[in-house]
């Protein structure tokens, strides 16, 4: 039986060593998820700012507008992937939001609201 050359053995060892590495998966969430029952109760023209606070809790941000205010509720979800090899390192981070923006007039009555449920679309991947 013929012996494999030493160079082949070293090549295989080096290939295994080079290919060895680690895969890192990470997930990050900021703020609690929205209460969908609370969002269903929002009625433009009827719901007040106090009602919104009772239903949804404290907003992430409050913005003064020219004819009222806007309350912004935001939930952030991020997913990250890292691939660390001997020579090549790759990283990928993907962030998506669930966001609700409530617009109030000068009397603090809800006039409009916009809702985006996109946090679930955060995904792992590579560049």
């Amino acid at each position: 039986m013929r012996k494999a050359p030493l160079a082949v053995f070293i090549c295989i060892t080096m290939a295994l060593f080079t290919a060895s590495g680690c895969l890192i998966l990470g997930k990050n969430k900021e703020n609690k998820s929205f209460d969908s029952a609370g969002i269903d109760q929002l009625k433009p023209g009827e719901t007040t700012a106090s009602d919104v606070l009772k239903l949804l809790g404290a907003p992430t941000e409050v913005v003064k507008l020219s004819n009222g205010n806007a309350y912004i509720f935001k939930q952030v979800e991020s997913k990250g992937t890292g691939l660390i090899l001997f020579v090549v390192n790759m990283g990928y981070a993907n962030t998506h939001y669930d966001q609700l923006v409530c617009f109030f007039d000068d009397q603090n009555i809800l006039t409009h609201y916009g809702l985006t449920m996109d946090a679930e679309n955060a995904h792992y991947g590579l560049p």
Partner: protein
Amino acid sequence: MPIMAFRNRFYSILAVLILFVGSSGCSLRLLWQEEGRPVLPHDEDLAPGSTNLTQALAILGAPDRVMELNGENVLVYQQSFIDSRQVSLGIPLQSFYTSLVKFSGSGEVGTSDYLILFFNNDYLLTRKIYEKNSEFPFLKTLMAKPQSVNQRGKQTRPYPENGKNSDLVITPAPPVPSDSR
């Protein structure tokens, strides 16, 4: 013949070792970050002068940012990207010397696509701005020279005519008929 065989094997091992040791000083790092939803121009759905806030929110959902600007309410939809790359070529000399001889190049490009909507106090869309920056090539963006102050006023084509292949589209409000005032 045994000497030739030994020599061939020796060179093979030497080549592998050089490759192994040499590559230990080299690295390639690629990082990509994406934040937010894709931002589209919505040219057909959003018409300044006729689209109201309710319609805009129904089409686009919640904006990423809201602000007040000169008496108008501004909704900003934004998707951000960060592209970071680094290449290092090194000669590891730690075994013989105290440091590593290393040549390294790195760059990071952050871009965003924007859709900015302006609403008046009657919640009517007055104008919109769409800007797409994410499709620019990495190296071209990184190496582009910044415009000097004198050149900024000399742009020959400040606002491209259509939104599909352009970088920036500003859609102004339609002119108000004189008899309506």
